[in-house]
């Protein structure tokens, strides 16, 4: 059995080794994230079958939970870790030749830190530890958003920083309240004793936590940082932010609501919130002419859909939500990567300037097309299965309110289809103006895109690859007693 703590240790160690390597060779820095994440991917793939059999609890320092800092590697954790490291790996490969602006080693270090933070968030079993990893994630992303050192990026990073800090402090307040009530920071421990506390206090704590994590999760109305940050960051970072970072926020919200607080009452509200986020995201995206901003708004919409699905709170609903996390991560990462390179080649972010790229950059355009089709939810791509599952889950609960919700969600899909199809047409069927000298991407840029395209199609055609894992993950979220059992049962 591989020690799951390696998953955190490896990227962390590599991250800090990058400046050291930088002393040896300038060039070597950009390959380090690839190596680190390759290891991570390997570990997580080895872990999957084991974890599905039996979840692992790793105590650090030899103490047993709840008295120590521990890692809880359940199906959900391993699923998210796999996703994070895979997407991270692909983005790292992309970044090898995409990131050209010096100092590149800082970029790679921050990038690895970001991955470390994300991995830590989903693996830790300690709520304060969660906060610490959360801060690692956030701070490295603030820095990365501003990486391009242009006015736009700095401003976005500043906004992101302010809102993120508010969120972090809220999380901290929530944790403090919990600690005050229960005197423990272990999530399973809190969960097992949550019924004994004053519900009002408990709820206030939950409210702070939801708000705090909600900001990272980009739930309406807490998502105002996202369009700016995602659109002005380097595209590889946008891909990571959209593909991974906001999902960790969702993970945080879900973990709080499902596992720790068992707050069933608020779930419908969460679903409603998700729906609102979806609608507003899609509506805002509709009139965008900036391709990255469009993708950013679309991310808001998709996160809304995920939150909506998680708010359904049936096993199928959670399953569908997790599936949507996968399909959105794949598709959106693909879209950002493809769009990033198109922007790089064309030199403009406006959609109109991308006209006619279908002939000049066939593979990239193809990748973009597949990504957007998957996001819209067309078969035979991954997005279809997740969307179908969400609709199925929402109708299956047989509550009238959810019927209304699902109709609204589907209408939002139409809006989404409207703008994505427009972009696809722009790529292929409009005459380009200044695209004569544009050439196709090559090498490290194209590999991750091709892998993403293939995985979107493969998952779309054969979803069974991941359904087992997702079912387990959904089971973990919903079965809080089981979770408590894993962590505390051993003691």
């Amino acid at each position: 059995m591989v020690n799951p703590s390696l998953l955190i240790a490896v990227p962390l160690a590599f991250a800090f080794s990058i400046p050291l390597f930088g002393l040896v060779s300038k060039k070597i820095g950009k390959y380090i994230p690839v190596v680190a994440l390759l290891i991570n991917v390997g570990i997580s793939f080895i872990l999957i079958p084991q974890i599905l059999k039996k979840p692992a609890v790793v105590s650090i320092g030899g103490w047993s939970p709840p008295f120590c800092i521990n890692l809880v590697v359940g199906p959900l954790g391993v699923f998210l870790v796999t996703l994070i490291s895979s997407i991270g790996l692909l983005v790292a490969i992309y970044a090898i030749s995409y990131i050209k602006e010096e100092p590149t080693e800082k970029y790679h270090m921050l990038f690895l830190l970001l991955i470390t933070g994300a991995t830590g968030i989903v693996l830790t079993g300690d709520i304060f530890n969660l906060f610490v990893f959360f801060e690692i994630l956030c701070i490295s992303s603030y820095a990365l958003v501003a990486y391009n050192k242009d006015k736009e990026g700095t401003e976005a990073a500043m906004k992101y920083l302010i809102q993120g800090s508010v969120g972090s402090s809220f999380v901290l307040i929530g944790i403090a309240l919990l600690y005050g009530m229960f005197g423990t920071l272990n999530m399973a421990d809190i969960a097992s004793r949550v019924t004994s506390a004053d519900p009002t206090f408990l709820f206030i704590s939950l409210a702070f936590l939801i708000t705090g994590f909600g900001i990272e999760a980009a739930v309406f109305p807490l998502n105002a940082w996202l369009p700016d940050a995602h659109s002005s960051a380097p595209s590889s970072i946008s891909a990571i932010l959209s593909g991974i970072a906001i999902k960790t926020g969702v993970y945080g919200v879900a973990r709080m609501i499902y596992t720790i607080f068992n707050a069933d009452g608020i779930l419908t509200f969460i679903a409603f919130l998700g729906l609102l986020t979806l609608l507003i995201g899609e509506m805002s995206a509709f009139r965008q002419n900036d391709i990255k901003r469009l993708l950013a708004y679309s991310s808001i919409g998709q996160i809304g859909l995920i939150v909506f699905a998680l708010g359904i709170a049936t096993s199928l609903g959670v399953f569908a939500g997790l599936f949507q996390i996968v399909s959105h991560a794949l598709a959106k990462a693909l879209l950002f990567l493809a769009a990033g390179y198109m922007i790089y080649r064309v030199g403009s972010k406006s959609i109109d300037s991308l006209s006619g790229l279908g002939r000049k950059m066939p593979l990239t355009s193809f990748a973009f097309t597949i990504g957007s089709f998957s996001l819209i939810g067309l078969p035979p791509f991954a997005g279809f299965i997740s969307k179908f599952s969400i609709v199925y889950a929402a109708i299956q609960v047989k509550k009238p309110i959810f019927l209304v919700f699902v109709v609204i969600a589907l209408i939002a899909t139409v809006i989404e289809a409207g703008y994505f199809f427009k972009v696809v047409q722009n790529l292929y069927f409009k005459e380009g103006k200044n695209v004569d000298n544009v050439t196709e991407t090559s090498g490290y840029i194209i590999v991750p895109m091709i892998i993403l395209v293939i995985s979107i199609i493969v998952i779309g055609i054969h979803p069974q690859f991941i359904t087992g894992l997702l079912k387990g993950a959904a089971g973990e979220l919903l079965g809080r007693t089981g979770y408590i059992g894993w962590v505390l049962g051993g003691s």
């Binding site: 702070f208 939801i210 109305p221 105002a224 009139r287 409009k430």
Partner: protein, 619 residues
Amino acid sequence: MQLITILIVAFLGAGIVYLIGKISGKARDILAVLASLIVVILVSLAYNQKIYTSFYPLPFLNLSLTLRIDPLSWFFAIAVAGIGFLSILFSLEYMKHYQKLDFYYSMMLFVNAGMLGVVLSADFLSLYIFWEIMSWSTYLLISYKGGKAVGAGLKYIVMSTVGSIAMLFAIVSLYTSYGTLEFSSLASLLQTASSGYILFLLIMFIIGFGIKNAIWPLHTWLPDAHAEAVSPFSAVLSGILVRIGIYGFVLVMYSIVGLNLLHKLGYGLLNFNYILCWIGAISIIIGTFIALLQDDDKRLLAWHAIGQGGYMILGISFGTTLGIAGGIFHTLNHCIYIALLFLVTGAVEYRTGGVRDLNQLGGLIKKMPVTFIGGLIGISGLIGIPLTNGFVSKWLIYKTLIMEKHPFLAFVALIGTWGTILSVYKFLHNIFLGQLPEKYKDVKEVPWAMRLPMIILTSVIILFGILPGIPLNVISGIERSFGIKPLSTIIFGMPREIGELNIINILAAIVVAGVFIYLIFSLSTRSRRVNQYDNYAAGSFIPKDKYQYSVRFYDPVYRIIGPYLRDVVDDFYYWLVEKSKSFFQGVRQIYTGNVNTYALYILLFLAFLIITKIGWGLW
């Protein structure tokens, strides 16, 4: 296995054609034709078989995707395969001057494969999957030409998405209620469902299938899409793709819901069938009469595609033996003649350099006789002139309407036919008849690869017109499979107990009379052959290029009915889109760009959560 082979051939063919195209253009063309031909052969081999296979399990949803072939699906499958093959054959020459041909051929095959998948599916999930594949590949093909086509494609795909989500909603709700999506099990399970639920299902499916089928008021994507697509694809689009919607109607209404349940929906005149009928009738009027105002030949045909869709709806919505037979038969007929007509416009475009404006053409009969005959037979089928296929199906539909005591609907259908006559004669006249403009002096007949599909379709129109028993036999098989009393047919028409129609007698009478008159005609003094310039022009020699009456061909009628014939629905949709655009813009203003506001949002959200808890104890 056979069905899976068909689909595999169809889908793989599309993929391979694209890859081969990167190597050799010629090989790609041949392969595309071969792939579509093999599909035709495979489908025709499946005639009269009953196969049911499950080809792909989806265990996490507890479902498996299944395929089946029964009379209904075979009937549509052969139409899909046939039209697909002919239009690919036609494309060989027609598309020569276009670019991105790999993409084109691959997508043509892909659309075909998608349609085949739709008609061969045995459960709703596979139907939906293939449906969506068909939709987006169609969207890519419509947009293929660029320019105006882009807007058309977008309009199409957005409306199509609306239809899809309606359908998805219905499908999922079926699945949650009954735990299965197979047609056969649903058919029996639904018999106990409440009327309200059935009505909900039907409405959802009608939105879904109706948008594809372009029934009023869901038709507005069609004229743009048909006019802007390349002609061979317009043939597929209008001929069969749109009519997959009819397949859906028939499937849901008769194969799954069934007649018994349909009759229970509604009270008196306000029942489901009757309302559907009127939707069909409105489609007829809107379609055929707006077609009258068109000057673009493909747009004209596109509006007819809407109008003729109304006839099919009229036929199938009654649920009588005659009506369903008429509706389904008309679907087949429509797919043949409209495909032919689109190919004809394609041929004309090909030779005249892409001229679609009816006001600029004329006199091409002398130069393109085969194309002309195709056009003539095509419009005869569209009108329903006796001895062409459209006649028999229209006869069945009218007969149903009158027998079911719906004279007003019958009136609409008949007057729609007159609108059709007017507009298609204009189509034929302005392209082929009258004076040949000087600039088309050197136009030649189209090459054989384009002639052949037209000849085949023309002869099928005549064949089915004279021997309607052949397709009607298959159709009665379909009706038998629905559990409806099957239409009894004879090869030349209808048996006496159904109605008085015997094509062979009509044919014989016309032929004998024609021959007799021809004899008299040739016995009398011979005439002298003159060219088009030797013509009466009130004593002067004719002014060249100005001696043609084609612009605003029916001007007095335009002036009378023109003001009423606006596509109000389309205007409404545009209005809706404009309004929602500005609304979306307003929504976007939430993100003010001011970080203070954002912080306020966060605080308000937190406050909201806490206040609702403490104040009202909501959670």
